[in-house]
Amino acid sequence: MSKRIVAENLALFYREAARCYGDLPAFATRKRALEWHPVSYRKLYEQGLDLATGLIELGVNAREHIGLFGDNRYEWMLADYAVQFCGAADVPRGTDVTDSELVYIINHAGIRFAFVETVELQKRVLELRDQLPLLKEIILMDPNGHTENGVKKLVDVLNLGSGLRIEGDRRTEDRMTDIKPEDLFTLIYTSGTTGTPKGVMLTHSNIISQIKTLPGIHNCNDRVLSILPIWHVFERVIEMYTISFGGCTYYSSVKTLGEDLRNVEPTFMASAPRVWEKLHERIIKGVKSSHPVRQILFHIAYYLSKQFKASEYYITNRYLKLQHQSRWKHWLMLPLHILRWVMVLPWYGFFNVAVLERIRLGAGGALKTTISGGGALPAEIDQFFNNVGIPVLEGYGMTETSPVISVRPSNNLIVGTVGPPLPETQIKIVDPVSGNVMYPSDQFPYGGRGIKGEIWIKGPQVMKGYYKEPELTKQTIKKGWLKTGDLGMITHNNCLKILGRCKATIVLSNGENVEPEPIEMRLQQSQYIDHCMLVGQDKKFISALIVPVLSEFHQIGIPVNSGKELIVNHPEVQKIIREEIRRMTSNGSVRYQQIKDFRLLPDGFQVGEELTNLHKLKRHVIQEKYNHVIEELFASESI
């Protein structure tokens, strides 16, 4: 009963969806907790055609870049439909875009037409207008907002097109069939970098390959709750995927998530680690505030489930296999696991039904699977959800790979990995220093499984390149292989495990990228700071490890013969460094790049140890050596 539609390009895909799923709801917008407004596939398609005709009438060309600045809402989707029908590509960004980013993106992408979601954003764009010589038309999405200074309303453009179509205008149909698979469907500017944003060019064939190869069995009975920002390609692919099986996407928000989970009872959901952390926190809080007898019942149920699942994973060979396991040991352990499985089964069965089901109701109760992406899911959260019976399919990817590279399917769910690569996707593990291929390779035992290195990928989802950055593109993609900058290994059951990053870029848990090098360079200009390294991968904020210039502190009155430890723990020293950080980062840094906390390291970085011959930081070495310090830095991070 499960079926997925495919087409050559996104525009034809949208048309096919309208043909197959007609009057089923495609998107639903929340008015109140129990009042949602649905739009059918057919209506969305027809409105899309009208809006596209309106845009063509205004002068939108095929293959041109259209700005799409807004957050998840029906009009966003409608605008996307129209842009695809015009044969153009959109340049999406959320309403939290900064002014400087707006100016950069609009000018770099050569945007002449831009959709803005809200009146505030309209005002901001209008104020920046003299810096935006190319921008011709601004279209406001919010149907209730007031337009000014020649800004057009989306409804008016739609009505313009609608009138033309009634008169027989069929220009959109020609545009749709004219789209080539290698044409862009979107141009996404990566966020939050200190350097200039990079425009990732994703093509119709990129996204169509994702829709085709994502694992999952869904049909038009499925309800999908959407909470991630639509301008992240991960959320976008999930929405396209939902269209492919005729499901309905319900637009929720972090604030109303708990309520919406109960009312919509989604069967599928994509989210970032943060959402899982919050949900986990809420469930634990619920358990803790419940009756003591129920708490005990929960703990028994959870314990049993853990034992049961561990044995089940062992028996079905679905556990994290970082090292090769000898066959005789496997045969020795197998009967023990089978015994435990059989013994726990009836008890687990009962507690699963009586206790864990209520926990699952907290997440809507109907979730078949959920998919997590956009950062590493903390291991204990991952295990928690799998143990209570909400399978989380963790995936791995990046904007440059539109975005999914690998994901663990529900029938092969190995906790701790990000699953096998998608079909048609190849993975290489390469030594980041020497450039030797470690996997797949005959020179290493077990074909190179279990060896750590940089992940390179080749497949239909790899981007066309960075817009107007041929040099950077060449550095990133070599002979079709994209260097991800992530460290990982292939486990002994052929899944990918992510082990960190070899590129300096830090990705925070909210998905923002931080380039640490410019900030570190600024900090090192301080007379008190010898070296420093920013940390915060998958965390909520960034922090710094700092090697102070010890001699400087003797001059301000701290005794010369004091031990290193004493100096770095001196409150006066701590205060000076804190002041220095504030001073050095005060100008131009945006909020999430502010350094929240730091630790002083008594021992300096040594060449050959923590530093390369060129005095560059060996980040993974420092990361491993000062792991305890880093953990301490983020220990206070409240989930």
Partner: protein, 353 residues
């Protein structure tokens, strides 16, 4: 086969009484006044369920007892189990089997109340032959006479309803405790059944061997045949899958604790131990068979359940007049006339148009 000693000692009986109390309390704690009102809202389903529970089940029990030529004490026990109302266990299993929990609860309420009238009538009707047999034996050996203690049965049924009412009061006043009571009830039920089987095993080790094989077949078969007939009977009269599964489970799964209460309070030796033994066997087997049936229902019922859920949620969020129009060929033939399976008036109207 005869029991040389009592199957259950006094302290076991107290334990059993406690278990009955806890389970019936849990049952009450899961019920609200609204559930009672719901009975009136789906009279058709409840009526079919009634026919299935009080029409089919006693007949199945009687047939098994007759075909296998049961010892009269076992026969009476099996028929007694066949005449029992449903309990909360079936509601839980129905939930997991993707059946209509609302119907299951309505049937539980209706059958529990109706049992006060139906049980004495049915028991008297189906057991008359077996009672006469015991009576003749007892008179021949000069140990007295035997009749079905109708008055005692009714009063023990009323007695069992007291903790149910108490549970309902708890639900109203202290909802948090009610949830705990519900959870505990299910857990206690399984523990005590295991305890009884275990003590029977250690104390009367040879009991398992001495029990005639047809008694095992009867204890196992009663539930299974009940599931089967409940499923197909409700299908034959045109119930949709969601209700079919609820009726099937409600028919097969009887309220075991009520059986224990009735046997302990109304019957005496020499038949009591034998009757209890069959009740224990039935309770043990029914947990296993219904788990199995639930898994089968759950996987087979996935599709129509998804349709039902989706349609219900559409009506909840988009307004009760919203009609979900699935693409042609998506719904199966049985669902096409009524994708909502009769639960949502708006969706039904769409078919009429």
């Amino acid at each position: 086969m005869e029991f040389s000693t009592q199957l259950l000692y006094a302290h076991d009986q107290i334990l059993l009484a406690l278990m009955i109390f806890v389970i019936m309390l849990g049952m009450g704690a899961s019920l609200t006044i609204d559930d009672f009102k719901a009975v009136a809202r789906s009279p058709r389903g409840v009526f079919i369920g009634f026919l299935s529970q009080f029409g089919l089940m006693p007949l199945i029990a009687f047939s098994i007892a007759t075909v296998f030529n049961f010892h009269p004490a076992f026969a009476i026990s099996l028929i007694l189990i066949g005449c029992l109302p449903g309990g909360t266990t079936s509601n839980m299993f129905t939930y997991f089997a993707r059946g209509s929990v609302a119907l299951s609860i309505s049937m539980t309420i209706a059958s529990t109340l109706l049992a006060l009238i139906m049980m004495p009538i049915l028991l008297g009707f189906y057991t008359s032959g077996f009672t006469a047999q015991i009576n003749a034996e007892m008179q021949a050996s000069g140990t007295g006479t035997f009749v079905i203690p109708t008055g005692n049965i009714v009063s023990s049924l009323i007695l069992v309803l007291i903790p149910v009412l108490l549970g309902m009061v708890i639900r109203r006043k202290w909802p948090d405790w009610a949830k705990t009571a519900e959870d505990t009830a299910g857990f206690v039920g399984i523990i005590v059944i295991l305890y009884l089987v275990f003590t029977a095993f250690t104390r009367h080790g040879s009991l398992f061997l001495k029990t005639p094989v047809e008694v095992y077949i009867g204890a196992l078969g009663l539930g299974l045949i009940g599931f089967f007939f409940g499923y197909w009977f409700s299908r034959a009269v045109g119930m949709y899958p969601l209700f079919q599964r609820a009726i099937s489970l409600e028919t097969g799964i009887q309220n075991g604790p009520v059986a224990f209460a009735v046997i302990l309070l109304s019957f005496h030796e020499p038949v009591q131990s034998q009757m209890l033994w069959l009740a224990i066997l039935y309770s043990t087997f029914i947990v296993i068979t219904s788990s199995f049936i639930t898994l089968v229902f759950r996987s087979r019922g996935q599709f129509d359940w998804d349709v039902y859920k989706n349609v219900t949620i559409h009506n909840r969020l988009f307004g009760k007049n919203y009609v979900t129009s699935y693409p042609q060929g998506f719904l199966t033939k049985r669902l096409i006339n009524d994708p909502s399976q009769g639960t949502s008036p708006a969706q039904k109207r769409s078919v009429a148009q």
